[in-house]
Symmetry: C2
Subunit: 393 residues, 2 copies
């Protein structure tokens, strides 16, 4: 760990994810109510800091300076720290890491975290333009290198080098959609996607079909983080942040090197495990960034759940499913829940919080889970961010 | 202070500020060269974290995920933390505070901070739209309540209640432009603005004339923060972060209460002084957020440099000038240097760093300065962010 104070998660909540008629503000309030509405001994006055994870509110909600706007909507008047963090698709986890640093340093005692994105505008043209800004626009975006083509290239290379198949990728999507099928907050709640159906969906960027890609989603999620001394004021079952890791090693694609290996993820995962004093085998469940099916396969390998090149086989053998080595994306992942950029990292942490508290619904409960990992990537998988949580401090 | 580790500033640098033909990326590189190019014993490999303060790169530079882009431009591969922070006009200081928290918590040892904004686009229409997003767009922006009208209302009310005059406001602008006149990095370098000239400039929002308003500026600034153990590796004269305060208490203007008092600033300043174990009289120089002349007058009062209502007289008596009680905005302030949103808070800290190191140019040197304060406001003065620095740890 660090030299600072221990930090606990004591509450978490979600808005429903999907194509919503709700505004940005309404999403914030919905997640706020779910997160803070029923916390024991909690008063809005307790919150001394607010960290908002939001990727592109200026373009997608025509609003800047969103942290104080969220504070007002939630009834908070932060007296210590207020800020928004942006790290594209990992903006939500970036906000959690900022809250963790602030409490750990002694600069905050009770920090609210709110992740939010409103992506389904009246017109999708603005949203598509916005997504093209995530990769380096002047080097890559102008040549059409947005997210689907980039991850398609990763898949092509992985198939070539390691024999990964379209069927194995569809198994990732099938698993995550099965979890989402019984998750009422997921975009694809009560929708069925068989492997056969997935393999017939329209092609987006070969070999990635529609079901291999996460969607444009509206949603918000919240978390309450506190210092060790306050943890049991708010819950009898706090969940502890045990470690974290992050790595950034290029931006424009000319620096990516291999597309079938993500050394930045390997380095960030090693740092997370080192700081948590754990190994991959200690992890009972993992929420990883399945923006595309190939991502989850690469993540099994680089995080260390299976040997390099064996990610396709890992899912095919059911080792990332309930009853396997590690349950991956039990809430339904980005593929099943949708991917509202700023909300995703927070929603993943909410799932881990509920699983480690043993309050997750039975259909996806990881029984006896003690330790969990959350992973986000951002951009062209050039930045990887991880956190490790546990029931034990 | 906090319970965490002590944090030192060991380097700072700037791009030139102004209406620049340079791109966003070129501004980052210019400030990076100025900040990191000649630091003793420094290698880009030392940097484990990068915090980028940028308000609206998605709208103003058509680029998101800017933190890893800046890392690549600067030759950094952060292994601990990478993120962008946004807090509108205080985005730069928000990045510094994040770096401070990370080092204090033991999560980073060597953190680079980069503040940047490219505001002068080929067309100013986009920039004007962007600025209208800073206040609450659906409540206030749609009624024309953008920055100049809001601060004009503050001025009107302050004049009514306390007898503040247009001449006193012009004295703020005259002082800050005089400092900028000899500051080569300032937007209004080698430009002369007499009080008489300022009082004849076109009216923007009564009573605020053009010379009462800061400008749309391109610029970037950098800072290197390290933990106590590393401070003297990089410089013999580190400058120490001694305290910080922040307060957020409304967003849409219906919650503003008085326009002639800013209680959020009073609360944030008290927290900064409490955490630094200092009082207003201990401060030798202050970089405060003179986005408009009336702002600086209100800031004298709410920070505690003079009694409530006496801010106009304070500047008229020369008490905020060289040789006065506290030298305010010796680099030229936002009025004289320009206001590239994300760069401003970092540039203010660079000035304080140089002043406390006694390396500031003679024309604006605050001789024997030991302790300094930096203040940023954001939005409709609804959020106030302060830091206190000193030569002594």
């Amino acid at each position: 760990m660090s030299g600072g104070r221990r930090v606990a998660v004591v509450a978490g909540g979600l808005s429903n994810f999907g194509v919503r008629s709700a505004t940005w503000s309404e999403l914030v309030q919905e997640a706020g109510h779910s997160t803070f509405g029923a916390v024991r001994n909690f008063s809005a006055k307790d919150v001394d800091s607010l960290f908002v994870g939001a990727a592109q509110p200026e373009r997608l909600a025509f609003q800047s300076h969103v942290a104080p706007m969220a504070a007002e909507l939630l009834g908070f008047e932060p007296t210590k720290i207020i800020q928004r963090t942006e790290l594209a698709c990992a903006s939500g986890q970036s906000a959690i890491r900022s809250a963790y640093a602030a409490i750990s340093a002694g600069l905050s005692d009770v920090a609210a975290v709110l992740g939010v994105e409103k992506m389904n505008l009246p017109s999708m043209a603005e949203a598509n333009t916005s997504m093209a800004d995530v990769l380096d626009r002047s080097w890559d975006g102008v040549h059409g290198a947005t997210a689907p083509p980039f991850f398609a290239m990763c898949a092509q290379r992985h198939m070539l080098e390691y024999g990964t198949t379209a069927e194995q990728m569809a198994m990732v999507s099938e698993k995550n959609h099965r979890f989402a099928n019984s998750n009422p907050s997921a975009q694809f709640y009560s929708k069925t996607f068989s492997r056969e159906k997935l393999l017939k969906l329209p092609m987006v960027a070969p070999p990635l079909r529609l079901g291999d890609c996460s969607s444009m989603t509206d949603g918000a999620a919240g978390l309450l983080l506190v210092s060790e001394e306050l943890a049991r004021k708010y819950t009898d079952t706090p969940v502890w942040i045990r470690g974290t890791g992050q790595h950034s090693h290029f931006h424009n694609l000319s620096g990516a090197g291999s597309l079938s290996s993500w050394p930045g993820l390997r380095a960030a995962a090693q740092e997370a495990f080192r700081s948590a004093r754990m190994e991959p085998k200690d992890i009972d469940l993992a929420e990883v960034h399945d923006c595309f099916t190939i991502s989850e396969i690469l993540e099994y390998e680089e995080i260390g759940f299976c040997p390099k090149g064996k990610g396709g086989q890992f899912v095919a053998d059911g080792r990332s499913d309930l009853g396997g080595d590690v349950v991956v994306n039990p809430r339904g992942g980005l593929l099943g829940c949708g991917h509202p950029l700023g909300a995703t990292g927070v929603a993943q942490a909410v799932e881990v919080f509920q699983q480690l508290q043993a309050t997750a619904p039975a259909a996806r409960a990881v029984k006896g889970a003690e330790r969990a990992l959350v992973h986000n990537l951002s951009g062209s998988a050039n930045v990887h961010s991880l956190m490790i949580y546990a029931r034990e401090n």
